[in-house]
């Protein structure tokens, strides 16, 4: 009997990674295939020169600079002259501090001004007319964008995956909690789908499905060892999904978000600073706030606030070139984290700072300056508190420190190797008995119990988020979304790298969580929050608000302009 169960569990383990691979491949193919093609729907026509400038993006920089989206070879045009942008109610133009100004139909543009088909826009000495692409003779084909894979199919396969996982755990350990957790999680993903598709009318779910795959893996790995943790994860994932919907709603109108900029920065800093005062120290870092039965890690949520503060729309980027405020917020945030001894988070924030500041300004000097300052800070730290260096003594030669500071890494490597490609079975591993096995060591725990294929797949999905975020960077509805998506995905990738490579002795061990997978309620909820930024970069996310092509009877001229949006599916 026992042998039969063993064999059954073994075959389920063989199937498990393949289901996960199918889901991953399906989702990424669907995401890639159903992207809009970059084709213009409106054109800026220079009647004198007979040049048509195709308008390809939601936000387009106009200027003499060769890197401008619309590059005008005219000495009277400033390098970054203006921004032509599209919002739900039509096309707008903003003068971004040009020398010679922007004129629409002869009137000087002071603030953001709406423009319509046929309007004449004068930039420097160049006069441009806004035209439909079809009229201007551009090649417009509303053609074969591949249909995305139906969401219910993807969710059905995830349901299968979680069930197989639960069955395997049940065979191995007999823990009924596995079935309960799996059931609850499956219910959660279907409810999520119902809310997303019906209430919010969002057409696709691939990104969330991938995150669900990661979250589900984390929950199922926890059930076998510590059911209580699994229930915490379940609750946290529900909170995270709530946060995800909230953020998607909150950042829907990018111009509105910038008004909250200061309030969010201050809130985030106050929350972090209050942790220093009333926080509780758990495992060496004073980064917890305990509220009755719930303990939260404010630094995780500060990541979301930080991305908010960092990203901007293109017209703001071009007008206010300096971002002193953002640098100040960054310095304070990182400073507070260092005071908390939460060095892992401090490094993550620092890398995110580099990503955001470079994406905003393209200024390598800022990056070099920041890195120099950080190195200086590290040197001072090590001089004042030399014992911090001891944390890194084992790095690169953990086998010599197998019984001391290299203990976690050595065991992680031993057990990763023991698992092979398909693992020894959920709940049957040995790594689970080590301290922090479900958060710091979770990558190797999956290697041991469910095989390195699945472990690598979880890592690859996180990397895939970044590739996706970059893939839609020019298709996003604003640079606000491009910047926030790339930096949120970059943050997740960097954090995953610290986690995975720390425990496998490729980088020093810093004790950060593996996004979506590690045990940790605040971390999981915050990851879902960050996912919202990546989702928002997909222009289809908010398509429900775009009216179908119905010609409005009043104000025909304006509504025509409004329709000249991009193809939506």
């Amino acid at each position: 009997m026992e042998e039969t169960v063993q064999v059954l569990s073994f075959f389920l383990r063989l199937v498990e990674p393949f289901i996960a691979i199918i889901i991953t491949v399906m989702c990424f193919i669907s995401l890639r295939g159903s992207r809009r093609r970059e084709e213009p729907l409106i054109v800026l026509e220079d009647e004198q020169e007979e040049i048509g400038y195709p308008v390809l993006y939601w936000e387009n920089s106009i200027g003499r600079s060769r890197n401008s989206d619309i590059c005008i070879q005219d000495m009277t045009v400033s390098r970054d002259h203006a921004v032509l942008l599209r919002r739900n109610d039509g096309w707008f133009i903003t003068d971004t501090g040009s020398k010679s100004g922007v004129y629409v139909n002869g009137e000087k543009v002071e603030e953001r001004q709406q423009v319509a088909i046929g309007d004449r826009i004068r930039i420097g000495t160049t006069c441009l007319v806004l035209r439909r692409a079809s009229e201007a003779g551009a090649n417009v084909s509303r053609r074969n964008i591949r249909k995305s894979i139906p969401s219910p199919l993807i969710l059905a396969i995830i349901t299968l995956y979680v069930s197989v996982f639960a069955m395997q755990t049940l065979f191995n350990t007999g823990a009924m909690e596995a079935a309960i957790c799996a059931g609850a999680f499956i219910a959660e993903i279907w409810v999520f789908f119902a809310v997303s598709a019906i209430a919010f009318k969002r057409p696709n779910i691939e990104l969330e499905a991938l995150a669900m795959l990661l979250t589900g893996t984390g929950i199922m790995v926890s059930t076998a060892h510590n059911p209580r943790q699994a229930f915490v994860q379940l609750a946290a994932s529900a909170v995270g999904v709530g946060l995800y919907f909230f953020i998607l709603w909150f950042i829907e109108i990018p111009d509105r978000v910038s008004k909250w900029y200061i309030i969010i920065s201050v809130l985030s800093l106050v929350l972090l600073a209050s942790t220093l005062v009333i926080g509780t120290s758990i495992n060496g870092a004073k980064n917890w706030i305990v509220l009755g039965p719930v303990s939260i890690q404010p630094s995780e949520f500060a990541k979301i606030a930080y991305i908010f503060v960092g990203a901007s729309t293109l017209d703001v980027l071009q007008t206010k070139k300096s971002f002193t405020m953002f640098i100040a917020v960054s310095a304070l945030t990182i400073g507070i984290l260092v005071l908390m001894s939460d060095f892992g988070s401090a490094v993550i924030f620092f890398v995110t700072f580099l990503i955001i500041s470079f994406m905003r300004s393209g200024d390598i000097k800022t990056v070099i300056l920041a890195v120099t300052a950080a190195l200086l800070g590290v040197v001072i730290m090590l001089t004042v508190k030399p014992y911090i260096a001891q944390r890194f003594e084992a790095w690169g030669h953990v086998w010599e420190y197998a019984d001391s500071s290299g203990y976690q890494q050595v065991n992680s490597l031993i057990y990763s190797a023991s698992g092979g490609m398909f693992g020894v079975g959920t709940g049957l591993g040995w790594l689970q008995y080590l301290f922090a096995s479900e958060n710091d060591l979770v990558f190797c725990l999956i290697c041991e119990e469910d095989g390195c294929i699945l472990a690598l797949l979880t890592a690859a999905i996180i990397g895939g988020f970044m590739l996706y975020a970059r893939g839609v960077a020019t298709r996003a509805r604003s640079t606000f979304y491009s910047i926030s998506a790339c930096s949120a995905a970059g943050l997740l990738v960097f954090q995953a790298a610290l986690n995975i490579f720390g425990v496998t002795d490729i980088l020093p061990l810093t004790g950060v969580t593996l996004p979506f997978v590690s045990y940790g309620g605040s971390s999981l909820a915050a990851c879902w929050g960050l996912l919202a930024f990546i989702k928002a970069a997909d222009e289809r996310t908010y398509s429900r608000h775009r009216p179908k092509k119905t010609v409005s009877s009043e104000k025909p001229r304006r509504s025509t302009a409004q329709d000249e949006g991009f193809v939506e599916i």
Binding site: V7, A417, G419, G420, E448, L467
Partner: protein
């Protein structure tokens, strides 16, 4: 928008680096998986399980030393063989760090990269292994050691195959004694003394001093010395066991005159002595088919004159493993260059290029062929004229050198003998230590004699 996207390039680089790191990890995992998973810390193997379906381990003649039947690990039927082979084969645990069942745990228990240790027990096919040892020789050597603590190494200096590797105290792996942790009789029983223990080599070290002197001091062979039993050398007394009278080089080696070699080592100096010792395996790691052995030590950087003199006769702080001593003798036998010892003849279905199993490996030259020839002749003369040819072996032409290493604390000296046979059909190098055996001649030679005679019988009956 385009600018924003191009500015995300560094993040793309970071992500590519992340993927590269993952690839690096998986390659690393693939290359090291078998050695990582057989680490003694591995709970899948060290909790006394993992061998229920492990492969069969046999000796050179196909005698089963350990095998698994119906989920149980069974060892050889003969209790004496079980005890004699304990340190080579190992037991169910991983306490004996140098044992085959510890070092090759993952291979014999059916580890492979695809399924790890995760395949159901019925699906696991542990690899079988053939060792180079001979269980009959093991038994003979173990019985000759009797109740003494000590170790025996015998290996074929032409092929490198270890024929006998015994360490005592030992126990029966099939019925592990319950009082093993508390009973003094089992103190250090988990240690294979031949590989993992170092002892002062005593007079056997004179072979190194002699080789160095033959190479760098002109006409040293004709140098005469009047041994009165002791002399003040380098500020303190150097003493011999007895006064040998007027002796030449060969006689000094034969009668093991400490004063003679003390003078030679002072004349050679720290640098030449250190160079020679390191050439002969000191301060270096010796790994036998993946089994790590202890490092023999020769360090005279802080020694005064008298201490340097004592180091030349294998005292002071000189420490050596029995296996290294056997390799030194193999070098003398083999014209100055040793064939390194090995113990695994074959692993079923596993061709690990890292291990290079089953083929002879030649070591670094330790001395010139002419010096090796001279030492061989002197060692043979020592056996024939001093120890007694038939006392050492009635069937082999043996060259040997004994040692009696003082250990202090009023305890009897450790008894050593090392050497080799000159017979073409039985090229055996050996070393034996009997802890606190008082005299190399009385305690160690009989054990060596039993082991090499048994080995000779085994080799001759096989051919």
């Amino acid at each position: 928008m385009r600018k924003t996207r191009s500015r995300s390039f560094p993040v793309l680089l970071m992500t590519l680096a992340f993927f590269a790191g993952l690839i690096y990890f998986i390659v690393n995992l693939y290359v090291h998986s078998s050695s990582w998973s057989s680490m003694p810390q591995n709970g899948h193997l060290s909790d006394g399980t993992g061998l229920e379906h492990a492969g069969t381990i046999t000796d050179r003649n196909g005698v089963v030393l350990a095998h698994s039947v119906d989920g149980q690990r069974l060892y050889n039927d003969d209790e004496q063989i079980r005890r004699a082979c304990l340190h080579v084969v190992g037991d169910d645990s991983v306490n004996i760090g140098t044992a085959i069942q510890t070092v090759y745990r993952s291979e014999i228990s059916g580890y492979n990269f695809v399924f790890g240790l995760g395949a159901p027990k019925d699906f696991q096919n542990g690899a079988g292994m053939t060792l180079t040892i001979d269980s009959a020789v093991q038994k003979a050597a173990y019985q000759a050691l009797g109740s003494n603590r000590g170790a025996v190494v015998v290996y074929n200096y032409k092929t490198g195959e270890i024929i006998c590797l015994v360490s005592t105290p030992t126990y029966d792996p099939q019925y592990k004694p319950e009082d093993i942790e508390t009973n003094d009789a089992y103190e250090g029983a988990y240690l294979n003394r031949a590989l993992s223990s170092t002892y002062p080599p005593g007079s056997t070290f004179k072979l190194i001093t002699a080789a160095a002197a033959l190479e760098s001091i002109d006409d040293v062979e004709n140098r005469k010395y009047m041994c009165t039993g002791s002399e003040n050398i380098g500020g303190k007394e150097i003493s011999c066991v007895e006064a040998s009278g007027e002796i030449d080089f060969a006689q000094a080696l034969m009668y093991s005159c400490n004063c003679y070699f003390a003078h030679l080592s002072l004349e050679l100096g720290k640098d030449k002595m250190t160079t020679k010792a390191e050439l002969e395996g000191f301060n270096k790691n010796l790994i036998i088919d993946g089994i790590e052995t202890a490092t023999s030590k020769y360090d005279v950087t802080c020694a005064n004159e008298n201490e340097l003199a004592w180091s030349g006769v294998g005292q002071y702080n000189v420490m050596e493993t029995p296996i290294n001593m056997a390799v030194r003798s193999a070098a003398v036998a083999n014209g100055g260059t040793p064939v390194m010892p090995r113990i695994v003849r074959h692993i079923d279905g596993i061709a690990d290029p890292m291990l290079n199993i089953g083929s002879a490996k030649t070591g670094q030259a330790m001395m010139s062929p002419s010096v090796a020839q001279k030492l061989s002749d002197m060692m043979e003369r020592t056996v024939n004229e001093y120890y007694g040819k038939y006392y050492v072996s009635d069937r082999l032409t043996v060259c040997a050198k004994t040692g009696t290493a003082e250990v202090g604390n009023g305890k009897p000296a450790h008894a050593w003998v090392t050497g080799f046979s000159r017979d073409e059909d039985c090229p055996l190098a050996f070393s034996v230590i009997v802890e606190n055996g008082s005299s190399g001649y009385q305690a160690a030679i009989p054990v060596a004699s039993a082991a090499i005679n048994a080995a000779a019988d085994a080799l001759r009956s096989a051919s």
